[in-house]
Subunit: 428 residues, 2 copies
């Protein structure tokens, strides 16, 4: 089934590029089975050949001239991860003109020049994939284009910048000021040394432009997005918001209205009960409201080597499938293996136990001894004195092997002063 | 672009079937543009021709013999929504043998006979689509197969039965007993008259089998899923769980482990801070943990006419694209319209305002008068006396037109005793 070989050219080998190489290496067998072809990263565009690289590139040729990739007729897919808009655009357009499929994570480029790029791709009979440009590894663009295709999307609302969400979370939970929280984010690698694109809301605006263009079927001019960052947010406002039942988040919001679209990025008070209020730290989440499906939320890590690499490699697999004109069910579901199933007795769980015992000395000690002998350790205990000399005891265990747990339960049932095991439930 | 016509046969016209007809009717233009073909529901299989139908079927022919659909060479796509496993299997296999693409929402069928069905589809060179079989309109199957294709999925964990989640939510939030909550769910249409498949966990087990077969690339035997329902859950346990910091949910869990797969459906205590703990009422949500992407959560309505119809119609669009061998970027992104953009001044928002005022009589009245004249109504107010005769006032408005709000802010700035508008933020 997997016989032909698809050669790939990688432009840029920074954080996301390293993720791509690692993921293909780690999951090569499954990825190639899903793609229906063997994959080979043939050439990698780098700035300098001399730099030490911790990454094993498995025989890929390092090049400093982009044309060695773009002019190579064996290379069918170009992954563009160089970032810079103008240079990326030039390379991408050249790749498309050479009939290559392109995968990119470049949100600035796709937000500003998506339309021309899609036109060129169509004229050349190839595709451009850009799932990684918004929300890292969270499936957003493909669900919008495919899974929600029957819907008229009425609203997009989301947390799509991890840096600002990290800063706001620190301010909210730790009581840090903006500057202090920003510095911490920079130390932890969640904010760039020049954080302006993130904290001023521009990064979120680019991503909103991309999502809105798909959801609302419209070209979006960046100037039409009202953009307000988080630099003026005060800890005082976060506290008042809490008092009123809100969390403060930087939201990107797009609405389809009678008269047109309304697009904006601004700090926003979100009701505590709204699922977006619970999206903390560097996580991202996006709500789509469709006229048929209602509200859908997609949540996950919006950035980083492996999550963004995950989206890039998924796009590469799609590109290969498209190159191969593969029938969808073909490889995916027919060549199932049958994996062994673990009996529940051998897996580990945490348990909640509620039992009734005669309230007399030594009951708890006998319970505790049995658990100890069976290597069941306890995490939480509630005991309340109740009527008729009976005590109700509630226990939560740590993670333990199910068979050990049930063996101890059988032994506990034998204790004369235990009257009833009233409930057993698992805990995650 | 949209010139050819694809004829569709609909087997069954109950809740989901009605949703499918309504969605295609309502969003026909956009759906056909995305699909790249005109769509025509040519024939509908019904039990009786005499029954009154509230639904307008737009000229579709009603038939009571399935062969009028399966033997019709003009029908390229069959939508199977009859439910019953054996009959559905027979019809679906016949449709595939006739070279028709099939879309189904039948989880029992796909969980039990998916493998044979996929094989037959491959042999015939057609596809079977079944996104609607799990999680209603929530994108689950396609993201697993496409967006997360670069990942080794390590864990699936989700709330995938709306009936039991509704019952458990009622027990938790309203303090109702199991029986009472079940009856309420039945009255509201969230539970069937015979609720056993839902409350015993079988429905969730079927759905888990489908997700696990894709995520773990394995055929799943239903017997290998440990299944425990919610009929023995007591309100008492829900209360203890709360005391310990948990919510009680019916979870379906699949783990990929060294030695094999572990698959189970059981009532589970979920830590309050876990996003699944906040999934209430009839909503569904599924976590996938991938080795590259980390944790992803997909959330939405897991059942119902329109959400499930949304997934079925999305599958129909995919089927049409596959029939047309369409290049993905082709129609989707090149034929963009340019929609008008609404100025922010004309949209409605809620606002949070923090201001400083001299603490003297009449200040609040003058604020209130301006807001009233500009039709800005207030939702919440906090006022605290502070040092140096200055009061800090925090206000939250109801939804109001942005231009009215900013006009009132300009007027408020003119009030002599208002010293500073310290902050303006929007509220969702």
């Amino acid at each position: 089934m997997v016989d032909n070989l698809i050669n790939i050219g990688l432009l840029g080998c920074g954080t996301v590029g390293s993720g791509v190489v690692k993921i293909i290496k780690r999951n090569r067998e499954e990825i190639e089975r899903k793609a229906g072809s063997r994959l080979n990263i043939k050439k990698v565009l780098v700035r300098s050949l001399d730099k030490e690289r911790p990454l094993e590139l498995e025989g890929a040729e390092l090049v400093t001239e982009v044309d060695k990739i773009l002019e190579d007729p064996e290379i069918k897919i170009v992954i563009e991860l160089i970032g810079d808009v103008e240079r990326a655009r030039e390379y991408m357009e050249k790749a498309l003109r050479k009939g290559k499929f392109v995968v990119t994570a470049n949100k600035d480029l796709m937000a500003q020049h998506g339309r021309e790029i899609f036109k060129l791709a169509r004229d050349m009979g190839v595709n451009v994939y850009y799932e990684a440009s918004v929300g890292g590894g969270i499936p957003l663009i493909r669900p919008l284009k495919h899974s929600l295709a029957a819907n008229r999307i009425m609203r997009i609302m989301g947390i799509i910048n991890g840096t600002t969400n990290y800063i706001l979370t620190q301010m909210t939970l730790q009581g840090r000021g903006y500057q202090e929280a920003l510095e911490e984010a920079q130390e932890k690698g969640f904010a760039e040394q020049d954080p302006s694109s993130d904290v001023l809301g521009k990064d979120a605006a680019y991503k909103l432009a991309i999502l809105a263009s798909i959801a609302f079927d419209s070209t979006i001019n960046m100037d039409s997005i009202y953009t307000e960052g988080i630099t003026e947010v005060k800890i005082r406002d976060i506290r008042y918001a809490e008092e009123l039942g809100y969390k403060l988040k930087l939201l990107a919001i797009g609405d389809r209205m009678e008269e047109g679209l309304a697009l904006r990025v601004h700090p926003t008070l979100v009701p505590d009960k709204h699922p977006l209020a619970a999206v903390n730290d560097e996580f991202n989440a996006v709500f789509f409201e469709g006229d048929a499906v209602g509200e859908i939320m997609l949540y996950g890590r919006g950035a980083g080597e492996m999550p963004t690499g995950s989206a890039v490699v998924a796009d590469v697999i799609e590109a290969v499938r498209s190159i191969n004109h593969q029938v969808e069910n073909g490889v995916m579901e027919v060549e199932f293996s049958q994996k062994p199933i673990m009996p529940l007795s051998r897996i580990h769980s945490k348990f909640y136990i509620r039992l009734k015992a005669i309230d007399e000395p030594g009951v708890f000690a006998s319970l505790a001894n049995i658990f100890s002998e069976e290597k069941v350790s306890l995490d939480m205990i509630i005991q309340k004195r109740r009527i008729e000399e009976m005590a109700e005891i509630v226990l939560v265990t740590h993670d333990i092997r199910e068979e050990n747990f049930f063996r101890s339960i059988e032994r506990i049932k034998e204790i004369p002063s235990i009257r009833e095991i009233s409930q057993l439930l698992r805990v995650v």
